[in-house]
Symmetry: C2
Subunit: 481 residues, 2 copies
C-alpha cells in the first residue's frame, strides 16, 4: 500500500479536508501514487493524521467524484489513471494534460427535429442536453454571495467592451493550458453566447464573405450565417473532415469548422489536414478559419487534441469557445480570440458595441475558474459522462449487426447508421412509437438530407436508468439488439 | 393635522414598518393626505399605534427617500405633491401617473470626447453617468440570494429565445402603466443591451434600409447603424424635433428617434409632430419608426409624456427601452417591442438566436420589479436627480447673460449654448484648465460639428458638492456667473 505522509497545517487558509484532497490529487497527478495503487482506509488515515474520519471521508469523496480515486467493494480505495483529467495550472504551471473546449449547444427547449413524430416521450436522447445534476450549485451560490457582499458600485457600472480584463486573463491561461491556444488577453472578446459573437464577427469581417461550412454541420451556425449577407458553400467531408483543395475552386474567403470534434460526425481532423487548411488560409490576405471549439472538454480516451489555433503561426484562426456546455447554458458566456489583424479592425470599427455580459456574472465566472471549481467540475462531469458513454456503448453491442456506430470516445452523443440504409425518418418514427426520441442527422445537413440513414443518440441529459430504458425501447422498435 | 388611522395586522406577511409605509403612501397617492398636510410626529404615531418609535422612523425615512413626505426643521413631517411619482400598479391597477423608460447610456469608461484636452479632472459633468450611490444593493442581494436558494436546474438551462415569459409579462405591465405602451408579452424581446437588440433588428428588417436619424443624435446608435449595411440620412431638427415632410424626399424607410426626450437636445416632440410621423410611416408598407425611449424615467416637472408607441394604431413603432439608466448599466437588460408584422418576421427568420441574458439575471430583475423595489428605486432616484438638477440650474443663474440654457426638467444633463457663438472647443479647453470636464455637442453631431457652440453638463454622476465645485471652476474658466 502507498505510504501517505501529509503535513497538515492547522493555520493554513484551506481547511483540513482540502489539504488532504490537494495532497492526494498532487501525488496522483505527479505519479508518485500510481494508477491501481491502494490508498490507506479512511479510518487508518484519520487515525494517522489525528483528524476526524469524516474529514478524510470528505476528501476521498471529492477525489472520487472527480475521478482521481475509485472505491472497490470490500477492497478499499485505489488511485485511477490521470490520463484525460483536467488541470489548469492556476499558478501558471503549464504541465497540463488534456482536453477540448466548449460551445453553445444548449438544452433544447424548442426541440423540433425533422420527421420526429409527436407522442409521449419517455426517453429523450437529445444531443444538445447536458447533465445539470452535477452542477456545483453550492459553489456557485457561495461565490455569488461573496461577490455581492464585497460588491462596490464598480461592479454595477458598465465595464470594458471586450469584457473584464481579469476574466480575460483567466480565460487566456485556461485556453493555453487546456487547449494550447496562444493569445494575449487583449485578443479575447467576451460575449453573451456564440450567436452574439458571430453577429459581432460579421461586423469585423465585413459583408463580402464567402464562407465554407462542413456538411453536415452545426445547424444554428448555418442559420446564423444564412441570416448574414454571406455566400455559403457547403463542403462534403471524408473521414478526415474537409479538404483544403475543395476550397480554392469555390473562391472561399472563410471556413467555419470544428477540427477537434466535428458536430455532428465526431470527426477529429488529422494534423496533416489542419496544416493544409492553415496553408490555404495563408495563401491570400483576408482568408480566415473560424474554429468553433464547441465541446472539447469531454474526451474519454487518449491524449487531448489541441485546438487548430495552437498550430496557427500566421494569425489565420478565429477561435470561439463557450461555457454553455462545460458549465451551463444559462450562464451565457462565450469568448472569441481574434488574430491581431482582426483585433485591429475590431478596435477601429466595432469596439463601441458594449459588452453583453454583466460584470457581476463575469466576476462570478472568473472566481469559479480561478479558485479551482471549474477544474473540479470538469473532472467530475467527465466521469459522469464517461460512465454514461460506456454504458450506452455496452448496451448498443447487439445493434452492431444492423448499425455502424460512430462518434465514440468524446462529446455527448453517438451516431448510429443503418447498414441497410434504412431511412432516418423510419428509424425515428419507430423509436418514437416506443417513447424514445432520437435526432436525425438530416437536422444538421445542408444538402442531400433525404439520404440520411443516421440517427444521433445524445447521452448528456439522460440518466443511466433512462439509457437502459431507452435502449430496451429501441430493441423493440427496431427488432434488434 | 391629518388624522392617521392605520389598522396594523400582526399576522400579516409584511412587517409593521412596511404596513405603515404602504398605508401612508396610499393615503398620499389617493389624495386623502394632501400635499402640504402635516403628519403626526413619529413619537405620537408610535404611541398611538403601540409600536416602537424606530418602526415609525423607519417608515418615515423610506417615505422621505422616495419623495412622498418631507421633513421641515422644527416643524415636523409634511406630505409632498405626488405629481411625477412612480406607481406601477403591480396588482394590475392601471390608475397610474407617470413616466418614461430608459436606454443604454452608461457610465463612461472610455471617456473620449472631441477637443477634450487631457489633464487632471476634478469634476466630470458626464452626461452618460448615473448615480450609483442610490443603488439598492441590499434589495438586489436579498433577491439574488433567494433566487439562488430556490434555484433548481431549470434556471441554469437555456430559456426561451425572446426571454423568460414571466419577465416579459412584468415588463409588459410596466410599459403599459408607466409609458402607455400597448403590447402583448409575446411582442417583447429581452436582450443584453440596446446594441445587441439593434443587431437583431438589422436581421429582422433586412438589408435594404434607408434610415433617418436626428442631427444631433445618440452617437453610439449612429455608429451601430453605420456598421450595418444601412444608408443613413441625418435630418436637422427645429424646436419640435424632426418633421415628417423632410423624410419623403429622402426615400427613407425607417426613422430612429427619441420623441419623449431627444438626446442630446432634450426636445420633446409635440403630439402633432408625432401624428405626422405615424401618418408618414403608414403611407407605405415596410416603413417603421424606431423609438429609443432611453431616459424617460426622470422628469421633474409637469405631466409624464407617453411613448410614441402609445399613439400607434397601425403597428409602425418598434419600441426600445432599457434598465441601464433606471437601475444600472451593468445589469445589461434591454427590451424591444415589435409590431405584429415584424414579430412574424422575427419568429420566422431570427428566433434561433438564443437569448443573451442569463435566466438567473432575468429572474432577479423580474422579482425586483414585481415586488415593488423598482418603483421605490425610481422614486428615490428621481428625488436625488431632481435635487441635483435644481441645484445646477440655481448655480447657473449667473451664466444666463452669456449662455442659453436648455434641456431642463428631464433627464440627466443640461445644455449651455454660448450666445456669442464661442466655439465649443474653446469652452471645453478653458473648463479643462480648471479641472472641469464638459462634453461637446459635436460628439453627437453627424454633420456641421465644427459649428457647435454648445456644451453638455451631466449631473447624474456628480455629487452636490462637486456641482458647486464644478460651477465655481466654470466661473473662473469663462469669466462669468
Amino acid at each position: 500500500m502507498y505510504d501517505m505522509t501529509i503535513r497538515l497545517q492547522a493555520d493554513s487558509k484551506s481547511c483540513l479536508y482540502e489539504q488532504i484532497y490537494e495532497h492526494i490529487k498532487k501525488e496522483i497527478r505527479e505519479e508518485r501514487l500510481l494508477a491501481g495503487e491502494r490508498l490507506p482506509s479512511t479510518r487508518s488515515l484519520a487515525e494517522y493524521l489525528q483528524v476526524s474520519r469524516s474529514t478524510v471521508d470528505c476528501a476521498y469523496s471529492q477525489l472520487m467524484s472527480e475521478g482521481y480515486i475509485e472505491a472497490r467493494p470490500c477492497k478499499g480505495y485505489f488511485a485511477c489513471s490521470v490520463e484525460g483529467l483536467f488541470s489548469f495550472g492556476n499558478r501558471g504551471e503549464n504541465s497540463i494534460r488534456r482536453t477540448k473546449d466548449g460551445s453553445d449547444i444548449g438544452i433544447r427547449t424548442d426541440a423540433k427535429t425533422s420527421g420526429q413524430p409527436s407522442g409521449s416521450v419517455k426517453v429523450d436522447f437529445s444531443p444538445y442536453d447536458i447533465d445539470m445534476s452535477g452542477f456545483p450549485f453550492s459553489a456557485w451560490k457561495k461565490i455569488t454571495r461573496n461577490i455581492l457582499t464585497e460588491a462596490n458600485g464598480e461592479l454595477f457600472a458598465r465595464g470594458q467592451a471586450q469584457g473584464d480584463p481579469e476574466l480575460r486573463r483567466t480565460i487566456c491561461r485556461y485556453l493555453h493550458s487546456s487547449r494550447g491556444v496562444n493569445c494575449r488577453p487583449e485578443q479575447i472578446i467576451v460575449g453573451a453566447g456564440n450567436d452574439y459573437l458571430l453577429l459581432l464577427l460579421e461586423k469585423i469581417l465585413g459583408r463580402h464573405v464567402r464562407i465554407a461550412m462542413e456538411n453536415p454541420t452545426y445547424k444554428r451556425s448555418y442559420q446564423i450565417f444564412r441570416s448574414f449577407a454571406y455566400d455559403i458553400v457547403t463542403v462534403d467531408m471524408d473521414e478526415g473532415g474537409i479538404q483544403a483543395r475543395s476550397l480554392g475552386q469555390e473562391d472561399v474567403t472563410a471556413v467555419y469548422c470544428m477540427p477537434s470534434h466535428q458536430f455532428p460526425t465526431g470527426i477529429v481532423m488529422p494534423i496533416g489536414r489542419r496544416m493544409e487548411l492553415l496553408k490555404w488560409a495563408n495563401e491570400e490576405d483576408g482568408r480566415y478559419l473560424i474554429e468553433d471549439d464547441y465541446d472539447s472538454e469531454f474526451r474519454y480516451l487518449g491524449k487531448p487534441i489541441p485546438a487548430l489555433q495552437a498550430s496557427d503561426q500566421c494569425g489565420k484562426v478565429i477561435y470561439i469557445g463557450t461555457f454553455s456546455k462545460a458549465i451551463a447554458p444559462a450562464i451565457r458566456v462565450s469568448f472569441m480570440v481574434l488574430p491581431e489583424a482582426l483585433l485591429e479592425k475590431y478596435l477601429r470599427d466595432c469596439s463601441f458595441y458594449s459588452c453583453t455580459v454583466s460584470r457581476i456574472d463575469q466576476s462570478i465566472l472568473n472566481q469559479f475558474m480561478r479558485d479551482g471549481y471549474f477544474e473540479r467540475h470538469l473532472n467530475k462531469m467527465r466521469k459522469i459522462y464517461k460512465a454514461k458513454h460506456d454504458l450506452l456503448l455496452r448496451e448498443l453491442q447487439g445493434f452492431r449487426k444492423a448499425f455502424d456506430i460512430s462518434g465514440e470516445n468524446a462529446g455527448l452523443h453517438l451516431l448510429l447508421t443503418s447498414r441497410k440504409g434504412e431511412p432516418e425518418r423510419g428509424l425515428l418514427e419507430k423509436a418514437a412509437a416506443e417513447g424514445v426520441r432520437l435526432y436525425g442527422l438530416s437536422d444538421s445537413m445542408t444538402k442531400n438530407a433525404s439520404d440520411s440513414a443516421t440517427v444521433l443518440l445524445g447521452f448528456g441529459g439522460v440518466s443511466e436508468a433512462q439509457i437502459l430504458d431507452g435502449i430496451a425501447g429501441l430493441q423493440r422498435a427496431w427488432n434488434c439488439g
